[in-house]
């Protein structure tokens, strides 16, 4: 009890204490706190023993000893309560114990106590308990409100987590308050504000104080008997208080408080369990957010694909059925953007370059494929695929490679590689592809397949066997799921399929190339959902942060521009990290690389270390993961 203060005559406090004492009586297990009590404490009948002690103490008028005894008795009384109590501060307990002890003492001897208190005037210096004790002793009798009932509610709230203001507010406040503190505050009426303010310094929520009132009310009514005649007046006041509380209760924001009050009233006994209501129940706001689902994006994406594909007139309907949807789109996108046969070559080259390890004959084959449409389609597909299944990139490309039967696949694999690398461009390509809307029947199917594959990552494996069948259609199908994984694949497959059942993949590469080249000038195709679905959500996550940091209203276009910048930023970031890791002869990017990057950016300086930035901007949980900290047992986490 910080304030301690003044026990000056706070009748309320005393009453509260009395209540605590009274209520605590039945529970006192007698704990051997004799150490403190020394000779003063004699474990006798629970309630009685303490009282006896107290009386003894009071009689002895030992300034220092009695208080500890009282405290101990109180402690023992509340030992059980303590276990339940979550109150972080032991003061509460002590306060309670003090209160109980005091009550006893008061019961047994009021005069003695007073004298005792005076004798131990310096008790206050010792501990809050002593202060409480003094309060009890010094406080006029009239202040006592209710003996036991009061005690009960007090402990109950103590049990409640102090920080939880919700339901346990009423209790909680009591808990948080060292018992006495809250009471005086609660019993405002009789005590008058100044007194309550003394206790107001205690860590209580103002509303909690109010909430406590209801708690107090029941106890007062419950244990009227304990009150001395003079205390009746207090009781009356309490009743008035209760009424006031009732009025206040509705005002209180915490609905829980009401619940608490009601619960308090209903149960005299300490209900440690009650106050501990599941936070989630009390605070729905704290419930975790349900994970966002991306299924909608896929569906929308499919729709978009369908629309675009349907718009186009698929020349190779047969093949297209099996071919991934990306193809028709691919063909379209290139045509839309460049409509140049040459781009396909360049695109193929780019694709090959980009996909060094994936580059296979499929590359050239892709090129062989009709450059225009397939490329466009593939490009478009690539975009879509990209968005659909980013994670598929590697697997899909590898899968494609395996399916040598279908050059498309290889080409697609390359494309996939390309696409993987150019995530941004992919989206653009897709858009282009969509715009072109190659009317490949397969596209829609492919899309569906792709989307389905997306949904199930395991689809890649299934696709592979399909591809291996060597059937164009199958390959197309396999490709489609794989394409979903990587746009490149789609592009290639599309191209291949578009051209002929077994068109040279090289051609496909060509069309793919242009697509990739066209990626940057992203066409506003309706649907690059797969790519943008999950990707956009996250980008918009950062865009929202932007608007938060800017503290100014922003235009939609500005937000889109921010997203574009972020895209580019991520690209640059990855490139830089790659360079740093390569410089260190590693293939894994480590946090040291990140630190070097930030140093280069000027965020980390000699004056400002990375740890400081981590502490400032990241939540605590991440800080634990990033900054090594020593723990007991000579262990450091995270391990260095």
């Amino acid at each position: 009890m910080a304030d301690s203060g003044n026990p000056d005559s706070e009748p309320t406090t005393r009453t509260l204490l009395r209540r605590v004492l009274d209520t605590a009586d039945p529970r006192t297990p007698r704990r051997p706190r004799n150490a403190r009590a020394g000779g003063f404490w004699v474990p006798g009948p629970e309630g009685k023993g303490l009282q006896a002690k107290i009386s003894d103490e009071s009689s002895t008028l030992h300034p220092l000893v009695p208080p500890p005894c009282i405290i101990q008795s109180c402690w023992s009384l509340h030992s059980a309560q303590r276990a339940l109590l979550e109150t972080p501060s032991s003061r509460r307990l002590s306060s309670q114990t003090k209160m109980t002890a005091r009550r006893r003492s008061q019961r047994t001897k009021s005069i003695g106590k007073l004298a005792h208190v005076q004798a131990s005037g310096h008790l206050e210096e010792q501990t809050p308990r002593t202060l409480l004790k003094n309060i009890l002793l010094t406080a006029p009798e009239s202040s006592i409100v209710m003996p036991e009932s009061v005690v009960k509610p007090v402990p109950a709230p103590q049990v409640v987590q102090p920080p939880r203001r919700e339901s346990s507010r009423g209790r909680y406040t009591v808990n948080s308050l060292p018992g006495l503190g809250c009471w005086p505050a609660l019993v405002r009426e009789p005590l008058g504000d100044p007194k309550s303010q003394n206790w107001a310094s205690w860590p209580l929520h103002p509303c909690s104080l109010e909430l406590q009132l209801p708690e107090l009310e029941p106890p007062t009514t419950l244990a009227p008997g304990l009150l001395a005649p003079g205390k009746r007046k207090q009781r009356l006041r309490l009743s008035v208080f209760q009424q006031a509380m009732d009025q206040e209760l509705p005002l209180s924001q915490e609905p829980h408080g009401n619940a608490d009050a009601s619960s308090l009233t209903s149960s005299l006994n300490l209900t440690f369990a009650t106050p501990l209501q599941p936070q989630s129940v009390q605070r729905p706001g704290l419930a975790r957010r349900p994970p966002t689902h991306r299924a909608v994006d896929v569906g929308a994406f499919l729709q978009d694909l369908r629309d675009t594909s349907l718009a186009l007139a698929p020349p190779d309907t047969v093949l297209e059925d099996t071919q991934p949807f990306s193809q028709p789109l691919v063909g379209q996108s290139p045509s839309v953007h460049h409509s140049l046969p040459c781009p396909s070559h360049s695109g193929a080259e780019d694709a090959e370059r980009a996909v060094s390890h994936r580059t296979r004959s499929s590359g050239p084959r892709l090129q062989n494929n009709s450059p225009g449409k397939p490329a466009q389609l593939l490009a478009g597909r690539a975009e879509e695929v990209d968005a659909l299944a980013m994670s598929f990139s590697h697997s899909s490309s590898s899968i494609f490679g395996e399916v040598a039967v279908e050059p498309l696949q290889d080409g697609v694999g390359e494309e996939a590689e390309e696409r993987m690398e150019e995530s941004l461009s992919m989206s653009k390509v897709k858009e282009a592809a969509r715009a072109q809307g190659s009317a490949r029947a397969e596209e829609p199917e492919g899309h569906t397949q792709v989307t389905e594959a997306e949904g199930s990552q395991g689809a890649i494996e299934t696709k592979e066997p399909e591809g291996s069948s060597g059937d164009v259609d199958t390959s197309g199908r396999t490709v489609s799921p794989e394409l979903a994984a990587s746009t490149l694949e789609f592009l290639q497959a599309k191209q291949l399929q578009c051209l002929e059942p077994a068109p040279p993949p090289s051609t496909a590469v060509l069309p793919l190339e242009p697509l990739s080249a066209r990626l940057p000038p992203r066409a506003r195709t309706p649907g690059p959902k797969p790519r943008q679905g999950p990707y956009k959500t996250r980008l918009s996550h950062y865009a929202k942060l932007f608007s938060f940091y800017a503290k100014m209203p922003m235009e939609r276009k500005a937000l889109e521009m921010v997203e574009k910048c972020l895209d580019k930023y991520f690209q640059h970031l990855c490139d830089d990290l790659e360079v740093f890791a390569a410089h260190a002869g590693r293939k894994t990017v480590r946090p040291e690389d990140l630190e070097l990057l930030m140093r280069r950016q000027g965020l980390v300086t000699d004056q400002l270390s990375l740890h400081v930035l981590v502490e400032r901007h990241l939540p605590l949980e991440y800080r634990q993961l990033l900054i090594p900290c020593a723990f007991s047992g000579n262990s450091v986490f995270p391990a260095q």
Binding site: S393, E421, L566, D575, L594, H617, P619
Partner: protein, 91 residues
Amino acid sequence: MAVSTTVSQRKHIKRKAPRGFLKRVFKRQKPHLRLETSGDLLMHLNCLLFVQRLAEESRTNACENKCGVIKREHVLAAAKRQRLLLTGISM
């Protein structure tokens, strides 16, 4: 005892880092590279700081033009300056 690497279920981290997204982006860009566990957290930190600087710059630009709303030109100008100032290797 080391602190667990996972956050207990009851903890609700505000402003979580989209770790999956960052990892995925990195994988897409550099499939041949691997990213360490804490790397994406630092990446997130980097992104936050980048966005912060960008926002600050855009806000300055908008205020200079006496606009109450941030327009895309402001953002664009801010981004250009960022690119110029940043001494990244690839930039």
